[in-house]
Symmetry: C2
Subunit: 411 residues, 2 copies
């Protein structure tokens, strides 16, 4: 007998019919003799509808109250799923953030989970209940409702799985698993059967939308085995787990891309110690997270400094940086938001030389200019012009052999 | 400086525009220098929509889960009102049932309030916050969400007012106050400026929909002054309070009617001790609440027994009673759901003789046959054929002088 956490996203519970389908899946797991804890998102569209309602009231909804409002979304889906299961003859019980005591800090709308009190839940599981937990939300130590940010239900599921000691945390979604490349761009991309936490974390951080990066980080930390799979099929999906000998040995596991960044360049900064600090301190003080940074020092004692950051923060950052640049006598500030970050990820890079040069050559052969490069032990990212997004992804998919060898032409 | 509880029903918060109107009213009270605690219902239609959603899942939704589901309605309106107030520059905070700790028993969907923990709320009020409490819901000692039944937000408001020691509990609604007769039937009926708890309780119990009877009972018990008034006008409404010398002295304060009852008659029951008990025990065991009971004993040792009960329970009751009647050799069971209970209420009846005979004569003069009569110290109820509803109400309105003397023809 195993203890399974099953997480269903918004599209999986979008209608009453779909909730019934989810109930059947949950019931099948229970029928196998397993204990099941379910984590649900709000019905698709519901969270957006609630946010829209808040925006009708004010352009700038109070954070605490916004969390109280949007938290109703999961409360609706959790209670509907629990009553469906009860109607099917199972013992089931919904759990809200405060009832599960998913304790978080008080950063409304992007809270971090600190602790989960599993005593009542374990008792209910022992009593034969299927427990249905609202994803995305928790409660601070004063009992205020908090939410975990977009994609937070993945995080809830992993945290619940870790705290109750689940054998597997199944993440049900509307795709078949994790693919080596976006199937919308590369239709014959390989579905990965197993992938390491490290690779998945890079893929999620670099743009793959199938799993939220923080949840992968948490799964790695607590060694929670993830199984990313489709709500609408019985096929096995992708197992995310510790790197082991069973894993297929690809040099590159996947290619991914992120179009949500912009690039800011400060031209001809006088090159003296401390300029980077002077430039970035006011930016981080404004809570803007900078991604890649490059500094080119020219012969004549000036430096060009370029960095990337989320597009949504570009306007603020340009304002801040312009003021700093002026004060240090730089020549100017430019911003480019028509860029994309294309990345390849794979633990095989650790032992295979030449991966980077293969990537750069492949892009170059297609006439794609690389503006910035950043690397880690298991990934290489390049910033390029965003008009080349699909071409770059397809090129890297081909050169690193990411197609499904078993896929037939018809597929 | 006073402490005011303001309760707004579903029609008062039906849209974002109406929520803004409510916020203005609340703000005006705060601007006077008063502390304000607000209790809100769900946006009109929301609770029905949620119940409909549950019915799509199952014909018989689990009680615990149904309460979790419908409780989201007030959570939405409370958070929207709080964020509106904050947007207007006030300090405001929403409180859910578990946050206010409105402790109830565990009778899901019709829970009773046992206690309210006001420590946090009082602290927030002292700190200058307007607190916005979800009506209709509470939490049992295990933290399960419970709801108080239809009209439960009135009850929440009175309970909150009692527990925080409010000076007044204002019940905002879509009418101007409590009327001596239904203005839809008697357009010139008098609006009562003051009414005693006892009279209001009788009026509410006997069919007046403006206040929930349980909330009046609670207000009387804890001596909470109620002010029933319109959300959409500045006019004073009706004060419900302890009987005092300031009250206008009408013999009859109001006439009301209830069309939700049915009448069951058991014909020719052998008249021996214990028959009433044998008949009513199985009915009360089925949780059916009987209202009026009449027993006529005939010369020949048989009795006809008639009682009224909610229409919704009539079918079940007929089945139960038929079985009992058969076993005791009664002649038969008949049911009539085309009846109405018309009642007059007034503390003046205590000291004025002849009120009952005036009522009976007035109805008789209109050719209305009285099927059953029940009286208390301050009310007289008659069961009549429901086709005479409006005629009876208008007749009693006229004979007991319930019209507004100041109303002009145009009104």
């Amino acid at each position: 007998m195993a203890l399974i956490v099953q997480k269903f996203g918004g599209t999986s519970v979008a209608t009453v019919e779909k909730i019934k389908n989810v109930a059947s899946r949950v019931a099948r797991e229970k029928d196998k003799g397993n204990d099941v804890a379910v984590v649900v998102s709000a019905m698709a569209g519901e969270t957006d509808m609630l946010i829209k309602l808040a925006r009708e009231v004010t352009d700038n909804p109070d954070c605490r109250e916004a969390d109280v409002l949007v938290a109703t979304g999961e409360q609706v889906s959790a209670s509907l799923l629990a009553m469906t299961l009860i109607d099917m003859g199972y013992k089931a019980k919904s759990y809200l953030g405060y009832q599960m005591k998913i304790l978080t800090d008080r950063i409304f709308s992007s809270a971090r989970i600190l602790d989960i009190d599993t005593k009542r839940a374990k008792q209910d599981l022992d009593d034969g209940n299927i427990i249905v937990i609202t994803g995305f939300q928790g409660v601070d130590e004063c009992g205020n409702i908090t939410t975990l940010g977009r994609g937070g239900s993945d995080l809830s599921a992993v945290a619940v799985a870790a705290s109750i000691g689940a054998d597997t945390c199944e993440i049900f979604t509307d795709v078949q698993g994790v693919y080596a490349a976006d199937p919308n761009i590369c239709p014959n991309a390989r579905k990965l059967s197993r992938i390491s936490y490290d690779e998945m974390l890079e893929l999620a951080s670099l743009g793959a939308k199938v799993l939220q990066a923080r949840s992968v980080e948490l799964a790695r930390k607590y060694n929670v085995k993830l199984h990313v799979r489709s709500t609408f099929s019985e096929n096995e999906g992708t197992i995310v787990t510790t790197e082991d000998d069973e894993m297929e040995r690809f040099v590159v596991s996947g290619v991914t891309y992120n179009t949500n960044e912009a690039k800011i360049t400060i031209l001809k900064v006088p090159d003296r110690p401390g300029i980077a600090a002077s430039i970035f301190k006011p930016i981080t003080d404004a809570n803007i997270v900078v991604d890649m940074i490059i500094q080119n020092i020219s012969e004549d004692g000036y430096a060009d400094l370029t960095f990337t950051l989320p597009k949504t923060d570009a306007e603020d950052a340009v304002r801040i940086v312009t003021s700093t640049a002026d004060s240090m006598g730089a020549k100017g500030v430019s911003c480019n938001d028509r860029i994309v970050k294309v990345s390849i990820v794979g633990v095989g890079m650790r032992t295979h030389a030449g991966v980077a040069s293969t990537m750069f050559t492949a892009l170059s052969d297609e006439g794609i200019n690389i503006m910035m490069i950043s690397t880690s032990e298991i990934k290489i990212s390049c910033i390029i012009d965003d008009k080349y997004t699909e071409l770059a992804v397809r090129t890297l998919h081909d050169v690193f052999d990411l197609a499904d060898k078993n896929a037939t032409e018809e597929e």
